[in-house]
């Protein structure tokens, strides 16, 4: 019975996810050119070529990813905690409120930030007024757009729900009786948090990191809308090699390299947390 249920979906994913990823792996070791075609030569040089050309962008993407994920965690945890423990009957409404902005296309939302953060837009004009005499909070020349701050800010903004939700789910499962027990044992609120709630929420934190770090590092749209010279991310490199240069093997090699690095990083993190079954938690 379960097999009949699983089969259609499994087939779909097998054909349009598994096989393509395997095809990608296969393309990454091909040689050739657009006009003469590509044949399999088991040439791993494409990985070296991709790294040579894009290692700066690659490392930058990982760095932006780490920074953005860290910021997301810091912002998301208190919010998730508040909804899970203090939300009461309004829990679903609050969650809904958090998710509501994301019903609008993220291209529109990021474009809107492009307008709001304009050099002479509302935010910067207001900030320029802050000052006494000769001292100003920001100089006349300061800009937000086309800096890494804008890109990381955009990334944090666009992926925050991916961080909030898993942490919320984990926190929500925490049995309030545990907190009762800890206060019965004279633990302060802070201690109760650090020694009871936080460890129990770790699988959720892990899932949040996974679901945030991976998409953030591989995003390139935020960088192209809000970023400038020196802010590009590896996703655009992959797109360029595919669509502009028609250099499929290097493009495929880059994609694989990215996925490998991200997933390895995540597994290492899982080991560090000591939560091997966090994977099951995350998948569940």
């Amino acid at each position: 019975m379960p097999y009949a249920l699983v089969l259609p979906g499994w087939l779909w994913l097998a054909i349009f996810f598994l096989v393509p990823v395997l095809t990608l792996l296969s393309v990454s070791t091909m040689t050739g050119s657009l006009s003469s075609g590509f044949t399999q030569t088991f040439d791993f040089g494409n990985y070296a070529d991709g790294w040579d050309k894009y290692h700066v962008v690659f490392i930058r993407s990982i760095v932006y990813g780490l920074v953005a994920t860290a910021i997301c965690l810091l912002i998301a945890y208190p919010v998730a905690y508040w909804i899970a423990f203090r939300g009461g009957q309004y829990k679903s409404s609050l969650l809904f409120l958090i998710l509501l902005p994301f019903f609008v296309s993220f291209v529109i939302r990021t474009q809107a930030w492009d307008v709001v953060l304009e050099d002479n837009g509302p935010v910067l004009s207001a900030l320029r007024h802050i000052g006494i005499g000769d001292w100003h909070l920001i100089s006349q020349d300061t800009r937000i757009l086309q800096t890494s701050y804008a890109v990381v800010g955009g990334l944090v903004y666009n992926f925050l729900p991916f961080t909030i939700l898993p942490i919320y789910v984990a926190l929500e499962r925490v049995d309030p009786a545990l907190l009762e027990a800890s206060s019965d044992l004279y633990a302060s609120k802070a201690a109760a948090f650090v020694r009871v709630v936080l460890p129990l929420s770790l699988p959720g934190v892990f899932a949040a990191v996974l679901l945030t770090f991976v998409p953030v590092s591989s995003d390139y749209v935020n960088a192209s809308i809000l970023g400038g010279a020196g802010n590009t991310m590896v996703g655009s490199g992959i797109y360029t090699e595919y669509i502009t240069n028609g250099n499929y093997p290097v493009a495929a090699a880059l994609s694989f390299l990215l996925m490998a690095v991200l997933l390895v990083g995540v597994f290492v993190y899982a080991r560090m947390l000591g939560t091997e079954d966090a994977l099951e938690m995350a998948a569940g």
């Binding site: 070791t29 962008v57 460890p199």
Partner: protein
């Protein structure tokens, strides 16, 4: 290291789940083994076929045979860049020259401004044409340079029907006739040409800009715009270091790339078509630019930008009409291509587009229109007719250079790997 309470009930971790975990580990291993085998199998078998298509034929007779089989139709699907055709001032969606065409020939035109840059448009149509399928368009406008070269080499274009090009041969100027990138106009007819130079806002730069080296001035740090592409950016850099792109050597390319790398810290962003707005808003003070854009920006937003062909020289390019293979209405495409070489029609387009029109006779026509108009309209039309950016004098051409033609995959790869990282990293 945060200690996990050993005996605390972990939510959701039931004995069943533990069993499930151990079960899955075994089948995971089996999955990996199966995966490995299938990878090898797939890998050995897969390949991506060559993109080159068999041509229609290079000899006159073969081309004539092709065209003899084509029947006239009542539809034309035209893909173009944005802001590249005349527009009805009262309705953005209407184009008077297209309406006139429909009235004169009965052919209905679907006009789509789908081309944002050659890179991505080529990237979109290449796989489709490689498959032997149609792009959905009968007519498209592609810049001379690597993409047009590739389209020709891969046999993705239909050779033109020379018998349907009377207006062209009567009225086309020297820039359009028999260009170096398409001898005999076998595959293309010029739509508009343009110059890549520098545009700037004199109020913000506080001085005249005259040279490519001005883009290296530390006073403009963070206020410089450049193009993020493999055509204008590298070729302009080659001009900036004093070489001629058409005859440049790989050593020149290295020098040009070094120049660009030196300039990078000053650049705010590597733009595509979208540099003109930041320029009018003051986000950037000077930028690599296309000659016609400044005209249009000043006209529509009241800005006072200036465009200059730098002392070292500028780059001249031509956007060309061409017909992709498997077009449904090739005869309509030919009809239209020749139609726009009628001076009256070319003038309609030139009055709006402000790039270098391929029909020199339009200059007189525009002057006549100016004489018949008055006030602002008259001044605007005279501006166009008298502008060296729309009708460059002979002397200007000595300072204008064509793109480097890249032959072969090795050259293209080298070029790409040298210049793409400049704006991609």
């Amino acid at each position: 290291m945060i200690p996990t309470p050993p005996d605390a009930p972990r939510p959701g971790l039931s004995p069943d789940l533990l069993r499930g975990l151990t079960e899955s580990r075994i089948s995971r291993r089996r999955m990996l083994g199966l995966g490995g085998l299938s990878v090898l199998g797939l890998a050995a078998g897969c390949s991506i076929p060559p993109a080159v298509q068999s041509g229609i034929g290079s000899s006159r007779t073969e081309v004539a045979k092709f065209w003899a089989k084509q029947k006239p139709t009542k539809q034309l699907n035209f893909a173009n860049w944005s802001l590249y055709i005349d527009v009805d001032p009262k309705n953005e969606n209407k184009h008077p020259s297209l309406d006139l065409f429909t009235k004169d020939t009965g052919i209905n035109v679907t006009y789509r401004e789908v081309i944002a840059d050659d890179d991505s448009y080529f990237g979109k149509i290449q796989p489709i044409l490689a498959n032997g399928q149609g792009t959905g368009y009968d007519l498209m406008v592609i810049t001379n340079g690597r993409y047009l070269d590739q389209l020709i080499d891969l046999n993705y274009l239909i050779p033109l029907d020379q018998s349907r090009m009377t207006n062209f041969y009567d009225n086309a100027g020297p820039l359009a006739q028999n260009p170096s990138f398409d001898r005999g106009n076998t595959y293309s007819m010029a739509w508009q040409s343009g110059i890549t130079g520098i545009a700037y806002d004199p109020k913000l730069t506080k001085r005249k800009i005259t040279s490519w080296q001005d883009l290296l001035d530390p006073k403009f740090s963070g206020r410089v715009g450049m193009f993020g592409d493999t055509e204008d950016l590298p070729n302009s850099a080659i001009v900036a270091i004093g070489a001629k792109p058409e005859t440049s050597t790989p050593a020149d390319w290295e020098k040009a790339a070094a120049w660009l790398r030196k300039q990078r810290p000053l650049v705010r962003k590597y733009y595509e078509q979208d540099y003109i707005e930041p320029l009018t808003k003051g986000n950037i003070w000077l930028s690599m630019a296309w000659s016609g854009d400044v005209f249009q920006a000043n006209a529509s937003s009241g800005s006072k930008l200036e465009f200059v062909i730098p002392d070292e020289g500028g780059v001249i390019w031509t956007d060309n009409m061409c017909i992709p293979r498997h077009a449904q209405n090739p005869v309509s495409a030919m009809t239209y291509m020749d139609y726009v070489y009628k001076p009256e029609i070319a003038a309609m387009i030139a009055e709006y587009v402000n790039y270098i029109t391929p029909v020199p006779a339009t200059q007189q026509l525009i002057r006549k229109d100016a004489a018949a108009a008055s006030g602002e309209d008259r001044a605007g039309l005279l501006d166009i007719a008298d502008s060296p950016l729309v009708y460059p004098p002979e002397s200007a051409f000595s300072r204008l250079h064509r793109y480097r033609v890249l032959s072969g995959d090795a050259e293209m790869k080298r070029w790409n790997n040298l210049f793409e990282p400049i704006y991609q990293s």
